[in-house]
């Protein structure tokens, strides 16, 4: 399923190898870019191109979200900017219990970006969208002067349908809930860091970049009383737990020995002085649901390859509101606080 940029044949030869300012100028060159790069990959609206796409939505509630993606480098072990931009927004929709319907993509391109690379990113987006069963139905392109951007930034916006009866929100988290994660933690952040910092590991660490909407659907369609879902991106699991504990007015305790962390990621974190619980994932989900349903949820998640590493990592307590603690391997407890301004490079 991984996108092969070389498989993307442009229907007509492009006159340039790199992005020109005029590619964003609204004229002939922009038309050429749309028809030569975007449409062959993403497809065209059967109703014809227009300023907006019109979607059949039926009745019910819509989930609506947007996210900007600026990861550097644009290609990293296990993924690239294009697929990250699709999965990131699809996953955000899924965290509201929504079934993703359609995406919009806005590109900010720097003059001089090789068109071949752009075509590769677009092909990645298409493959990722296909994998999620979602279409990219509208978009926009702007080109900024060389030196005024960093190659390519992509913003995706998504809409999804929330099925009747589904209510997934931090305020529903309550004491007695179990905390589940769908796989090992910290892969994406470390994969990107290792490329940026030129770190070579014996076992290359690939990002977990991928969709989790089907994992959310597996829990919801089984009729489990899912209280809250969250994808632990920037700030990692620890930040998600802090946000949820504060929003729900509960305390959360997690167990250090229950945390799934890959050996290579743990080693890299040790070297870099990072705590994997604060490192970003891009293909993981944290789920809160009643403890009595936790084992069933685990079994449902583990059916999927993306959920094979799922684990129950902690539980929700009465209070004090907002406090997240970690039970260490020594049996002692410590605060798992929000990070204070630790600077990590751009990772999403």
């Amino acid at each position: 399923m991984s996108p092969d940029p070389t498989a993307l044949a442009c229907p007509r030869p492009l006159r340039h190898d790199t992005v020109q300012l005029a590619h964003g100028g609204g004229g002939r060159l922009m038309k050429e870019l749309i028809e030569g790069v975007f449409l062959p990959s993403l497809g065209t609206d059967p109703a014809g191109l227009h300023d907006s796409a019109v979607l059949e939505a039926g009745s019910g509630r819509l989930a609506f979200t947007t996210d900007g993606f600026v990861v550097h480098p644009r290609r990293f072990p296990g993924g690239d900017l294009g697929e990250l931009a699709v999965y990131g927004t699809v996953n955000d929709l899924a965290m509201a219990g929504a079934r993703p319907l359609a995406l919009a993509a806005a590109f900010i391109l720097e003059e001089g970006l090789p068109l071949e690379e752009l075509a590769g990113l677009v092909a990645s987006m298409k493959a990722a969208a296909d994998r999620c069963g979602v279409r990219i139905v509208t978009g926009d392109t702007k080109v900024v002067d060389r030196g005024k951007g960093d190659g390519a930034f992509i913003t995706t916006t998504g809409v999804g349908l929330v099925p009747a009866g589904v209510e997934v929100h931090p305020r529903r988290v309550r004491p007695g809930d179990a905390v589940l994660v769908t796989g090992d933690l910290g892969r994406h952040g470390i994969a990107v860091m290792s490329v940026r910092e030129g770190l070579a590991f014996e076992t290359p660490i690939a990002s977990d970049c991928g969709p989790v909407h089907h994992l959310a659907a597996a829990l919801l369609e089984a009729g489990l009383d899912v209280h809250c879902l969250r994808d632990p991106t920037r700030g990692g699991l620890a930040s998600v737990l802090n946000e949820i504990a504060a929003a729900a007015g509960v305390a959360i305790e997690v167990r250090e020995d229950a945390m799934p962390v890959d050996e290579a990621v743990a080693t890299a974190c040790e070297i870099l002085g990072l705590d994997p619980l604060y490192v970003a994932c891009e293909g993981r989900m944290v789920a809160f649901l009643p403890e009595a349903q936790a084992e069933q949820a685990l079994a449902l998640l583990r059916v999927h390859p993306e959920g094979a590493g799922a684990a129950i990592v902690g539980r929700v307590l009465e209070g004090p509101a907002g406090r997240v603690t970690l039970r260490t391997t020594l049996g002692t407890a410590r605060l798992l606080d929000l990070l204070s301004g630790e600077q990590l490079p751009r990772i999403c």
């Binding site: 406090r323 391997t329 020594l330 410590r334 606080d337 204070s340």
Partner: protein, 367 residues
Amino acid sequence: MRFVDEYRDGAAARTLAEAIRRKVTRPWTLMEVCGGQTHSIVRYGLDELLPPEVSLLHGPGCPVCVTPVAIIDQALAIAARPGVTFCSFGDMLRVPGSAEDLFAVKSRGADVRVVYSPLDALALARELPDREVVFFAVGFETTAPANALAVAQARREGLANFSILVSHVRVPPALEAILASPQRRVDGFLAAGHVCAVMGTEEYGPLAAKHHVPIVVTAFEPVDLLQGILLCVSQLEEGRAEVENQYARLVQAGGNRPAQALIGEVFQGVDRTWRGIGPIPGSGLGLRPAYAAFDAARRFGVEGVGGPESAACQSGQVLQGLLKPMDCPAFGKACTPDHPLGATMVSSEGACAAYFRYRRFAPVEAL
């Protein structure tokens, strides 16, 4: 993770804690010298495992924390110069000088870069021959060899656009100052394992003998620290005052001789002011006259620069083990990692930052 997990083993830790409990008969106060040890203690809650008779004080071994405000101000003045690429370990960027920090200077357009090694800065100096590349050389004896190596290489290569702003400090003079203080509360030391990996253990013998204080060279993982505490408590209970080595898997009595030779070649002993503590004679390392050309403070004429410390910051008391971070009136209120008054709240090795991050158990109530 081999060579790490076994030193974080819960069963081994509980066995050692039990051994300490059986050994101790009366109150003892131990100081762990290094900030890395402090973070491990607070992070793993080791003090919760100890019997009430054993209390731990957090020592001065955080290089970022003891760097005086004046030198931070010098760094800010140099970094703000056009044509300068200022390289530093990441921790130093958020340490407040008398008015602002390196992040503030960076946001106004200064070229401030985080590097992992002085050799990265040296490589930048080769890449950017038209810029003055300055490395902020802070640290104890642990970071001195790499900094010495960078300067020695720069001289060999004739790299005229490389210099270092030196704020090196040494552990033994600080221990002497703490032991000689009339307010002394320390009965025994857990000496800093990595400093001793470079310098060896021999220079601690005279200190142990003069002040009749046990000094146990100790590593950084929970099992290491508990073992160091057991050795130290055993000495105190038995009336011994010796230098012992818990970190024998890395530390040799003679230390790392080639590293010491490199330090001796490039640096010499100087008096140094410690942030929050004050001047300690012979406690620093400065460049030898033969390497004076690589001294950034001289090159940029900032030797006289430097403002006063925040009056509200009591980090000096914390660094001498006279005040626990949470007993400081500013802790978690006027002083947080986002708005630090002093470096102990900033550094990844600072005691105040450790307590704020791992132990501020009632954030809602306290703030």
